[in-house]
């Protein structure tokens, strides 16, 4: 008899989704109720996850197709909390576009369920199932503002390209299955001890698929358009939550079945990392739309996370996880600011709209200042420590080239972050924005800004949690 307690979070969240769907069908005007219940569901799931799995060292379930270990429980918790915060700060935005509908929270819940399955997967089939569940929910979310041309375009683009990458991924899976005779990660790992070309092909196809999901260069083309076109609250979701899941799968895929083939994939990851860091930094310079800029900056940040993965050491994995956690917080803070740029029920998302913000909104600009310097990786803010751990792991493996390219691209990236700060602080002011933001929005901005600002006082806490993760 399997221990069902360990998958209780997944079971709970799927039952809740079904319940909410039924509720939505039978009750009129239920969007507000369903919204609140979904928030509650996410919280409860997070609590169950902490209770049931947080202290579990490593257990596999269902013919070892599901694995529960420190990494999966930590990543699930981050995913759930991230989804909770996204949902909670997006209600005002959705209302102002009149898209405050029952589908929105339910779709978010389903994609979260898909991500949780991905995070725990120890089998190619389970992994693919989770991936598709989350992707399908995300396609719909991208088009959620369906009266807007751009939103529909974003959804369609995302769907077509993502389906293509899923196809590649699946093809890679089938090659690997054909070669090793199993879809289970551990079995694959024990079967592999040769350097067959076919196998390399399989790995490459899967890596392409995964790189697409986390939008690493050169598979990033969809990101700017989709980020710009989707409703802002969905963009926030895109930049935070799916990346956590995809990164976990990335880690597990590289380090469980294919650790022995590190020579084959290490160069690919290094290339992806360098290309993403440089391209993200350079391409962001010319942007005028904040959401597009964030898309490019997120490409750059993914590059740093991949640099940690390329090391082939536990240190590197841990540093990547620390990086993505801090990045999620910074993104949350940045988007909270973006959602505050509202005047007469219209949201502003061009960089020029920030012009002279510091005159009328000193606190908002101060938070932006902290967030942007942190994203640029300037000490003593949290973003610096994130990069610091990555480079510490990279240099431990004597990968100096990667470290130096990475640091040089932080200098390039600093330029466009400084440009935003310049516009906020040095330029002429514009009209005032509204100040009647929801309590949650204010809370999430204050909370995340303080975390970023004061992270340096207690840097050990996060490391303590992450350092329990032991994949190799």
């Amino acid at each position: 008899m399997e221990n069902f307690n360990l998958v209780l979070p997944e079971i709970f969240i799927s039952l809740s989704i079904m319940f909410l769907l039924v509720l939505g069908v039978f009750k009129n005007d239920s969007s507000k109720t369903i919204f609140n219940i979904s928030l509650l569901v996410l919280l409860i799931t997070a609590i169950i996850t902490i209770n049931e799995t947080f202290s579990v060292n490593r257990v596999t379930l269902f013919n070892s197709s599901i694995v529960i270990d420190h990494m999966s429980s930590l990543m699930k918790i981050i995913t759930l909390i991230g989804a909770f915060l996204v949902l909670v700060i997006s209600s005002a935005y959705l209302k102002s576009f009149k898209i405050f509908k029952i589908e929105y929270p339910i779709l978010i819940l389903s994609s979260v369920l898909g991500m949780m399955v991905m995070i725990s997967s120890n089998d190619l089939m389970v992994f693919y199932m989770g991936l598709e569940l989350q992707s399908l929910a995300l396609y719909v979310l991208a088009t959620f503002n369906r009266d807007q041309l751009k939103s529909s375009e974003a959804g369609l683009k995302y769907f077509v390209l993502s389906a293509l990458s899923s196809g590649l991924l699946l093809y890679g899976c089938s090659l690997i299955y054909g070669f090793s005779g199993s879809t289970n990660f551990n079995v694959i790992s024990s079967q592999l001890n040769s350097n067959e070309y076919v196998l390399t092909f399989g790995i490459v196809f899967i890596l392409v698929g995964l790189a697409f999901k986390i939008s690493a260069v050169p598979f990033h083309m969809w990101a700017p358009d989709v980020y710009e076109g989707s409703p802002t609250s969905v963009t926030l979701f895109f930049t935070m939550v799916p990346k956590i899941a995809a990164l976990t799968v990335f880690i597990r895929f590289l380090y469980v079945p294919f650790l022995n083939l590190i020579d084959q994939w290490q160069m690919i990851i290094i290339f992806l990392s360098i290309a993403s860091m440089l391209f993200g930094a350079i391409a962001a310079i010319g942007q005028t739309n904040l959401k597009r800029l964030i898309a490019y900056s997120s490409i750059g940040h993914i590059g740093y996370t991949l640099a940690g993965l390329a090391t082939g050491s536990n240190e590197g994995i841990q540093s990547s996880i620390i990086y993505i956690s801090i990045y999620v917080i910074m993104n949350l803070a940045l988007f909270s600011c973006l959602l505050m740029l509202k005047r007469n029920n219209q949201y502003y998302e061009d960089i020029d709209d920030l012009s002279g913000l510091s005159k009328n909104h000193p606190l908002l600009s101060l938070s932006l200042l902290v967030i942007l310097f942190s994203l640029a990786g300037i000490p003593p803010l949290a973003g610096f420590f994130a990069k610091f751990y990555i480079f510490k792991a990279v240099i431990e493996q004597s990968m100096y080239f990667l470290a130096i390219v990475g640091l040089l691209s932080t200098v390039i990236a600093a330029f466009y972050y400084l440009r935003i700060i310049k516009i906020i602080y040095f330029d002429k002011e514009k009209e005032k924005y509204d100040e009647d933001h929801s309590l949650w929005l204010k809370f999430s901005l204050t909370f995340s800004t303080i975390l970023i600002l004061l992270y340096f006082i207690f840097p050990s806490q996060l490391i303590d949690v992450v350092s329990r993760i032991n994949i190799i």
Binding site: F384, F391, K392, E396, K422, Y425, P459, I463
Partner: protein
């Protein structure tokens, strides 16, 4: 361990800034903000004086050490001072209150925010000078970019955006390689604790690359030729108080870094690269002095003179002679006082006439005599007249260089002559001559606060010029031990 005096020095300005943050920002004359910040910085100055008084000059060991685990098993928050760093801390705490007094006249908008930036800057600068862990040092060293960027960018002159960006990106680019080096040191030696690294030493085969990585950061910050171009821009556009902080303290971080890290951690590499430093320093001294001669803008002229003076400093440091290094430290302190005063002098006339062009002025000696006298004093100190602190520094440095390399010493001495030329010519064109511009007649002489600031700077300039013993006594033992440690390392190799 008793009272954590160094941490309170670092923290106090930040606490003051935090307090200011919660006060209301008023336009115009915000007295609360001024008094709070002035009070904080003066208290900080008094604490640092207490630190100097209770400092034991007979040992080169680090004193007032505080150590706390910061990141488990990796970085410790560790601060402490020795004879080399203590003077820079006092310089910082001495200059900051003067900057705060000087904002009276020059900063018209968002005074509260400006004072917050200055106070936070002070925290970071003190942190740089007492950090005893490489990562902690880097943290403070880089963090200072944020307030300085804002000071130049928000309160600066017409081309402020360009200058702020140039300042920020130049220094950041220089520093990232240092970060790589620091992490590499951690993996090579297993610690980033400076005291432990002094004892352990770093394997000779890594030293060259590490030295170059640190050099790239310090050279930009010093600034050395040919990466000095950010400095004139930053100085010209920064508000007076910003220029003062930049010239008096920020530039000293790099000189301090050269002594503490380049010499202390990488002696073998320092020996190898000494000719490089000599060459760059001599070029800096002569070239930038010539450039300074041609300047039309007073601030730019003084900025270029800073580059030349810092050329002397780097020259002195790498003589690895007792006199040379002591001279460099005294030169840095003296330059901190004198360049601060000169920028304030420019600020005084700028506030009245809103022009920094030399051609605007001329013949103002009869209109504002008090100003002319003090300006003269600092001009003479800048060119190193005996009896001013500038002389002691330059003289000791040249003595050190003569022992080491005759040719370099001769070339550097040429720089002294050029220095006298551009400073005196500047003074002549601004203060003496015929009064052509009639608008100058309405100029008012120094007001009380300006007079007070310049007098505060004049006193130590003259005092240490006649009686440098307090400075030399403080640094002597530390420098001596640094040199003997250096020689030992080089000999072993």
């Amino acid at each position: 361990m008793n009272f954590p005096i160094l941490s309170s020095l670092i923290l106090l300005p930040t606490i003051g800034a935090l307090f200011l943050f919660f006060t209301k920002d008023k336009d115009g004359n915000n007295l609360t903000a001024k008094y709070v910040s002035l009070f904080t910085s003066v208290v900080n100055f008094l604490i640092s004086i207490y630190l100097w008084v209770s400092f034991d000059q007979s040992t080169s060991n680090f004193q007032f050490i505080e150590e706390r685990t910061w990141i488990e098993g990796f970085i410790n928050y560790k601060v402490g001072v020795d004879g080399i760093s203590i003077l820079f801390i006092i310089l910082t705490t001495f200059i900051t209150p003067l900057c705060i007094v000087s904002v009276n006249n020059s900063i018209k908008t968002r005074l509260r925010d400006f004072l917050i930036a200055i106070l936070i800057m002070e925290s970071f600068m003190i942190g740089v000078f007492c950090a005893l862990d490489l990562v902690v040092f880097y943290l403070f060293f880089e963090a200072g970019l944020i307030p300085m960027f804002l000071i130049i960018g928000i309160w600066g002159g017409p081309k402020r955006v360009y200058s702020a960006f140039k300042f920020f990106l130049y220094t950041l680019l220089g520093s990232v390689l240092m970060l790589v080096a620091i992490i590499s040191i951690y993996w090579i030696s297993g610690t980033t604790d400076v005291i432990k690294l002094y004892e352990l030493g770093i394997d000779a085969k890594y030293q060259n690359l590490l030295w170059l990585a640190f050099f790239s950061s310090f050279a930009v910050k010093t600034p050395m030729w040919p990466v000095h171009t950010w400095l004139p821009d930053a100085h010209v556009e920064a508000p007076t108080a910003g220029s003062v902080l930049l010239a008096a303290i920020l530039l000293k971080m790099a000189g301090y870094g050269f002594i503490r890290f380049s010499l202390g951690l990488f002696p073998i590499a320092s020996e190898i690269f000494t000719p490089l430093i000599y060459a760059l320093s001599v070029i800096a001294i002569i070239l930038t002095s010539l450039i300074a001669l041609m300047q039309e803008d007073m601030k730019k002229l003084i900025a270029y003179s800073s580059v030349a003076h810092m050329g002397f400093v780097t020259l002195g440091i790498f003589t690895i002679q007792q006199q040379g290094i002591e001279g460099s430290i005294i030169q840095m302190i003296s330059h901190g006082l004198v360049s601060a005063a000169l920028f304030l002098c420019v600020g005084v006339v700028y506030d009245r006439m809103h022009s920094r062009m030399i051609s605007t002025y001329g013949g103002i000696v009869s209109i504002i005599p008090k100003y002319s006298i003090l300006f003269m004093l600092f001009t003479l100190a800048a060119l190193g007249l005996p009896g001013t602190s500038g002389f002691i520094g330059e003289f000791l440095i040249l003595m050190g260089v003569f022992k080491d390399n005759f040719l370099v010493a001769v070339l550097a001495s040429l720089g002294v002559i050029l220095g006298a030329a551009y400073m005196l010519w500047l003074y002549k064109r601004v203060v003496f001559g015929k009064l052509v511009n009639v608008e100058l007649k309405s100029m008012i002489d120094l007001n009380k606060s300006e007079y007070f600031i310049l007098a505060c700077l004049a006193v130590p300039t003259l005092f240490f010029g006649f009686y440098p013993d307090p400075l030399i006594n403080t640094i002597e033992v530390s420098v001596k031990d640094l040199i003997s440690m250096y020689d030992l390392n080089v000999m072993v190799k």
